[in-house]
């Protein structure tokens, strides 16, 4: 009796880093060896699949026997043999390695539309995509819909750009379609420069054909014969899979001349970005593709009027485009059934920070931050107190814990002083210093500013200097006013979105966490115990047993004391490294 056996090994970036390729290889050899012994193993497939979100538990492996699916977590190559032996051959799953209940609750509130196939199909095999209705959307479009009908369908779906600004995609396509000119372009923005963000990376690594198909449909709708994917060179795996996918699509006739035997022809070129955050801004991106320095220019003219090489150009984010095929196949109404009045569909977030389950999640818009943090994320690590949620990356802001019942949609986040952005979501708890968080993002925007315009180039530098002053205990009362005024001036007068939003992390933390700024400035104290220059370490005599551990680890010899008697820290010598704090078993060292 032949059983249908499938083994799916996560080989997304997280999976590979955790040893996914070795695990996959081990499965293949084990099965081969076992296959000689037991015939039951014929029909067993080993697949490469993309990221399924919970990277912290990698390597994740699905074992599917007939219709029964079991998922293993934290799998290492040397564990494979036992799984093959006990589970695949003898039919007894290795229960202690299976995922636990909290793994399932990670997925409960999620809604996979864009990521539906990530983790299911083999991203390096076009047949795998085709067997999941792949390229059926473009076929439907080419054979039976006019460009106007396609645009209308996308407009009706309510899809808004996932790259940050949330511009209605159908409207953008319509503007490009109506722009005069017979040469037009569609560009997929895969620059993804937000620190900590990996949504687009996961989509391309897990399901590159969906992006290609989305571009094909967009190209058809606006009248473009050529598309570009602008992707950062730091994503080697995504680039490789995309290249393979494009080649396979060409080979199958989905790219090239006369697609489906019609007059419609379309092809895609990959353009590697050199890792400048600002090149994600559309006019800078265009300049970069044209071979110029990646600096934004003033709009108007907008890219839909005058874009790449001066021609009407649509720029869409990876996730936006990956939504398109399912909208065409399942219909605008289906898509619009997810989300809220003004924010339709789902959104992928890179959930990081102090939640228990970090990883990639896809949720229906309108879900509350509370649901994300406590149900999907499993709550705060160490059950500490939630302080804030940072969304929108360096352009976004911090939403305080008191507001986590707001729905996640474009308007609500903006009202709360942050933005949806491209999908970064960092959970901050009481051990995070908000001034330090603002400083972190300012460091990023300052070093990524293109330098073209004065408020952003010099202004963000001055903001950063003020924040550095405050966190090092040299802040003055007037610094708060200065931060506010300079932030507002930079927002008002910068050229592009980078400078216009760079002060947001400062403004939103000033709005909700002013007391923390004040503690740094007036009391020279960091309430979260993060800012090193403001920390003092003292030994509490009543707890100190005189074990001498601290004395041993202190790298600067700042601790004195005799064995079995309370020790002492000499403040002038202490370099505030915190080594003693970490090592003391009796909680006798106070940090504050």
């Amino acid at each position: 009796m032949n059983k249908h056996i499938e083994i799916k090994v996560c080989t997304g970036t997280g999976g590979i880093a955790a040893g996914g390729l070795e695990v996959l290889e081990r499965f293949q050899t084990c099965i081969e060896q076992a296959g000689l012994k037991a015939k039951t193993l014929t029909g067993c497939l080993t697949h490469r699949v993309g990221c399924r979100g919970l990277c912290a538990r990698d390597v994740l492996v699905d074992v599917i026997i007939d219709d029964q699916k079991f998922t293993y977590q934290y799998i290492k190559p040397d564990m494979v043999e036992r799984i093959v032996e006990e589970h695949i051959i003898n039919g007894n799953p290795v229960s202690e390695w299976l995922v636990t209940e909290d793994y399932l609750s990670f997925y409960n509130k999620q809604q996979k539309v864009v990521l539906a196939m990530c983790g299911e199909i083999d991203p390096e095999d076009i047949e795998s995509y085709i067997s999941h209705q792949g390229y059926r959307a473009i076929e439907k479009v080419i054979k039976g819909m006019s460009p106007e009908e396609v645009i209308d369908e996308i407009k009706r779906s309510g899809l808004r750009g996932r790259g940050g600004a949330g511009f209605p995609t159908g409207l953008k396509w319509e503007m490009a379609r109506n722009a005069p000119g017979d040469e037009k372009y569609i560009i997929c923005n895969a620059d993804e420069g937000d620190p900590g963000a990996f949504m687009d990376r996961a989509v391309i690594e897990g399901n590159p054909h969906a992006v290609i198909e989305g571009m094909l449909i967009g190209g058809y709708a606006i009248g473009a014969k050529r598309g570009y994917v602008y992707i950062r060179a730091e994503y080697p795996l995504a680039v490789e899979r995309l290249k393979k996918a494009i080649e396979q699509a060409r080979h199958k006739g989905y790219l090239g001349e006369r697609i489906f035997g019609t007059d419609f022809g379309f092809d895609i070129k990959i353009k590697l970005g050199a890792g400048a955050f600002v090149c994600g801004e559309e006019t800078a991106l265009i300049a970069s593709i044209e071979g110029k320095r990646g600096m934004p220019r003033a709009k108007p003219p907008f890219p839909v009027q005058k874009g790449l090489f001066g021609k009407p150009t649509v720029i869409n984010n990876v996730e936006t485009l990956a939504n398109i095929p399912s909208i065409i196949i399942k219909g605008a109404d289906w898509f619009a059934s997810f989300g809220t009045e003004k924010s339709k569909g789902t959104k992928i977030f890179a959930l990081t920070g102090k939640v228990k389950n970090t990883g990639l999640i896809e949720v229906p818009l309108g879900i509350t931050l509370r649901e994300i943090i406590y149900e999907i994320g499993g709550g705060i690590e160490g059950d500490r107190r939630l302080k804030a949620v940072q969304t929108g990356g360096p352009s976004g802001g911090c939403i305080p814990a008191s507001m986590i019942d707001i729905p996640v949609d474009y308007e609500s986040l903006a009202r709360a002083g942050s933005i949806m952005g491209s999908g970064g979501m960092i959970i901050l708890d009481e051990t995070d210093c908000m001034v330090n968080v603002a400083k972190y993002f300012l460091q990023f925007t300052q070093s990524e500013s293109c330098g073209k315009c004065v408020p952003c180039r010099i202004g963000t530098k001055r903001l950063l200097e003020i924040l550095e002053r405050i966190t090092s205990g040299r802040g003055k009362e007037e610094d708060l006013k200065k931060l506010e005024k300079l932030s507002n001036d930079i927002k008002a007068s910068s050229l592009c979105g980078l400078g216009q939003t760079a002060p947001n992390p400062v403004l939103s933390t000033l709005q909700y966490f002013r007391d923390e700024y004040e503690a740094h400035i007036f009391e020279k104290r960091c309430p979260a115990g993060v800012c090193r220059d403001l920390l003092t370490y003292t030994i509490l005599e009543e707890f100190c047993k005189g074990c001498g551990m601290c004395l041993k680890v202190c790298p600067s010899g700042a601790i004195i004391g005799e064995k079995k008697k309370p020790h002492k820290i000499i403040p002038e010598v202490c370099i505030k490294c915190g080594a003693c704090f970490e090592v003391c078993k009796f909680k006798a060292i106070k940090r504050g």
Binding site: A276, V278, R293, M295, R297, A298, P300, Q446, S447, E448, S449, C450, G451, K452, C453, V454, P455, R457, I458, G459, T460, K461, R462, E465, K482, K485, L486, D489, K491, A492, S493, S494, L495, Q500
Partner: protein
């Protein structure tokens, strides 16, 4: 024609031009640092920001085209406040050594600091420091004074078609530089020097020779070639210390390396000022020698020199015929002069043996 309203007053203007162009045509002052009408709009300095009714944020006048019915405010407390912050930010990263700066008195940044009355700066902080010097022969590049307006980069590629410099690096460390931070090695036309709003780019041949006060400006035509570029000599105590060219002349103020930087010959002791006639070499007994001494000349008057040439030409023509004479004219002469020269050869001497150095 469309109608726009600027600061409450209505204007009828050509569609498609920018707000800044309209303002300039109508003598409305909007401060600028990175704009030059001869270059593509840039929008980098942000000084020209104005408000437009119905738009959520201010826009730059230099990059925004006017549209019908647009209502523009070019100045109010809010806008001037933003502009002042911008100038303060620039000055916070500037050497501010006007006292010894070559450009003082002719510097757009100094002008703005004066205009906004900036004495103290709330945004003091780190300032860019560059210690290596560019050792090219013509252009003094002091990048600490550079405000990154990008004009030099644009003129070099848009006008000169050379592309010798670009902005490199990001953020606060952004810097205009030749490739790989090497010494500038280009045509040295100096368009960049002429367009730089600050003292970041100066001609080496002018350094330390005097600033603006007491300089007499004399309009003239460049003597180097037949193009006849207009130039302005900056003369201090009867010495040319700098050459500039006005943007409103027929070549829009652009010059070449010779016109812009090649003026030191004027005061050279070797310069020819009167005709010289070669002295016939003689021995101690005043007997003529067969070999001429190439360095022995005597000064003569123009009349004497021209008479000598005329006599020699006549002698040769009489003896060997007109085709024994040939004329070679110079690219440094104007068209008119070259025309007269060939006419003289064809009509007066009677030969077609006439040519021009530009053919070689």
């Amino acid at each position: 024609m469309i109608k726009v309203k600027i600061d409450g007053k209505e204007y009828r203007v050509k569609p498609g031009i920018t707000i800044l162009q309209v303002a300039r045509e109508n003598d409305i002052y909007i401060p600028t640092l990175c704009d030059d009408p001869r270059l593509e709009p840039y929008g980098g300095c942000r000084l020209c920001i104005v408000q437009i009714k119905g738009m959520p944020r201010p826009v730059t006048a230099c990059t925004t085209p006017v549209t019908d019915g647009m209502e523009i405010t070019t100045t109010n407390e809010y806008i001037e406040g933003l502009r002042k912050t911008i100038v303060e930010l620039i000055l916070s990263d500037h050497p501010n050594d006007c006292m010894v700066c070559e450009k003082a008195g002719d510097c757009s940044l100094q002008e703005l600091a004066y205009f906004y009355g900036i004495r103290t700066n709330p945004y003091y902080g780190e300032r860019r420091r560059y210690t290596t010097k560019d050792n090219n022969p013509f252009i003094e590049r002091d990048m600490e004074k550079c405000i990154l307006c990008g004009k030099c980069v644009r003129v070099c590629s848009e006008v000169q078609g050379v592309g010798a410099i670009e902005i490199a690096y990001r953020g606060f460390t952004a810097k205009v530089t030749p490739p790989f931070e090497k010494d500038l090695n280009c045509e040295f036309c100096g368009q960049c020097v002429s367009i730089c709003p600050t003292g970041a780019l100066m001609g080496k041949s002018s350094l330390g020779k005097g600033r603006q006060k007491d300089v007499k400006k004399i309009e003239t035509v460049c003597p180097y070639c037949g193009c006849g570029c207009n130039m302005t000599l900056h003369v201090l105590r009867n010495e040319v210390i700098r050459v500039s060219s006005r943007p409103d002349n027929f070549h829009e103020g652009w010059l070449c390396v010779k016109g812009r930087f090649g003026f030191e010959f004027i005061n050279s002791p070797d310069r020819l000022k009167r005709p010289l006639i070669r002295v016939k070499p003689r021995d101690k007994n005043s007997k003529e020698l067969p070999v001429p001494d190439l360095n022995d000349f005597r000064e003569a008057s123009w009349d004497e020199a021209l008479d000598l040439i005329a006599n020699k030409l006549r002698e040769i023509k009489d003896k060997y015929g007109p085709d024994a004479i040939a004329g070679l004219s110079s690219a440094r002469c104007t068209n008119e002069e070259n025309y007269i020269f060939q006419k003289f050869f064809r009509a007066v001497i009677g030969t077609n043996n006439i040519d021009h150095c530009a053919r070689y």
